[in-house]
């Protein structure tokens, strides 16, 4: 069955804990609702986006909340999209929630789309996606 979206983050937390990475504030970035980043973000932790990013986001895990907007590429190991992405998405695990709006290709290994999500563009499957390589 489908993944319960409510538990996705907990799974991510357990996964990072298992990988020996603390899921602490040290690796937890929040782009607040009133923040606009004009440029690129690179992180090895978790990024929560409630604001706007005009540029590329590259992180281990990304969650775009309903108010969040990315105008550019989104590259991650796992991503939960509840907001908007205007650009290509490349991630092993992609979850598009009801409120998601993705205008661009979604390169994925595991893709979950909740009913109501808007996806415009191709959704190519890949055996593995390395976020450090630009081999889309």
């Amino acid at each position: 069955m489908f993944l319960n979206l409510g538990t996705v983050r907990d799974i991510g937390a357990r996964r990072t804990a298992a990988a020996g990475l603390p899921y602490s504030s040290e690796v937890y970035t929040v782009i607040g609702g009133d923040l606009t980043v004009i440029g690129d973000l690179t992180s090895d932790g978790h990024v929560e986006i409630k604001g706007t990013v005009k540029g590329t986001v590259n992180s281990r895990s990304v969650e775009i909340l309903e108010s969040g907007v990315i105008e550019g590429a989104l590259i991650a190991e796992s991503v939960i999209i509840r907001g908007s992405v205007l650009g290509p998405v490349r991630a092993n695990t992609v979850t598009a929630a009801t409120t998601a709006r993705i205008i661009g290709s979604v390169f994925h290994n595991v893709l979950t789309v909740e009913p109501g999500a808007t996806l415009e563009g191709r959704r190519p499957w890949r055996p593995h996606i390395d976020r450090n390589l630009d081999d889309a």
Binding site: M1, F2, N4, L5, G6, T7, S25, E26, V27, Y28, T29, V30, I31, G32, G33, D34, L35, T36, V37, I38, G39, D40, L41, T42, S43, D44, G45, V47, K50, G51, K54, G55, S59, L65, E66, S67, R82, A97, T99, E114, P115
Partner: protein, 161 residues
């Protein structure tokens, strides 16, 4: 399909969505964590805490640069607290420099506090001190047309005679 408990847990997210339609001041702090690097500018109506690396300008209400953080670019805010490294201009009414800070650039402020041990390179200038210079420049600018205008009646008078 999706369980109702999952929907229930999304309720806080919807509340966050609502704050967006309200004036864009959610009162929450944006955090740039230690492993995050931003190459580009940040514009924020609220609070920003930087623990990672920012290569670009930062404009916000309040900016906190934590120990270990690095900012290369200008910072404009109402209040700036510096405990990390910054290379660039800082302009804010209230500036606080902690002992762990390393500032390479000018600071324009109204209220400045520097803790013993902070590394400071560059000038500190008070915002209030900037105003007389501006008004002087403005008065000079206003004088110029007056000076150039005064010979004209004379010329006309000369042409008339």
């Amino acid at each position: 399909m999706f369980s109702s408990s999952g929907k229930g847990s999304e309720a806080p997210t919807q509340a966050i969505g609502e704050t967006r339609s309200a004036p864009r001041n959610s009162g929450e702090t944006s955090v740039i964590s230690a492993d995050l690097k931003i190459i580009g500018d940040l514009v924020c109506g609220g609070d920003v805490q930087i623990k990672g690396v920012v290569e670009g300008d930062v404009k916000s209400r309040t900016v906190t640069i934590s120990e270990g953080a690095r900012v290369s670019g200008a910072i404009t805010a109402d209040s700036v607290h510096i405990a990390g490294a910054i290379k660039g201009q800082v302009e804010a009414p209230t500036v606080t420099v902690a002992k762990t800070a390393k500032v390479d650039g000018d600071i324009t402020h109204q209220t400045l506090s520097i803790e013993a041990g902070a590394q400071m390179e560059g000038n500190c200038r008070r915002l209030g001190a900037k105003k007389p210079a501006e008004s002087a420049a403005a008065s000079i600018a206003s004088l110029k047309p007056a000076v150039s205008a005064s010979p004209e009646p004379g010329k006309k008078a000369a042409g008339g005679s």
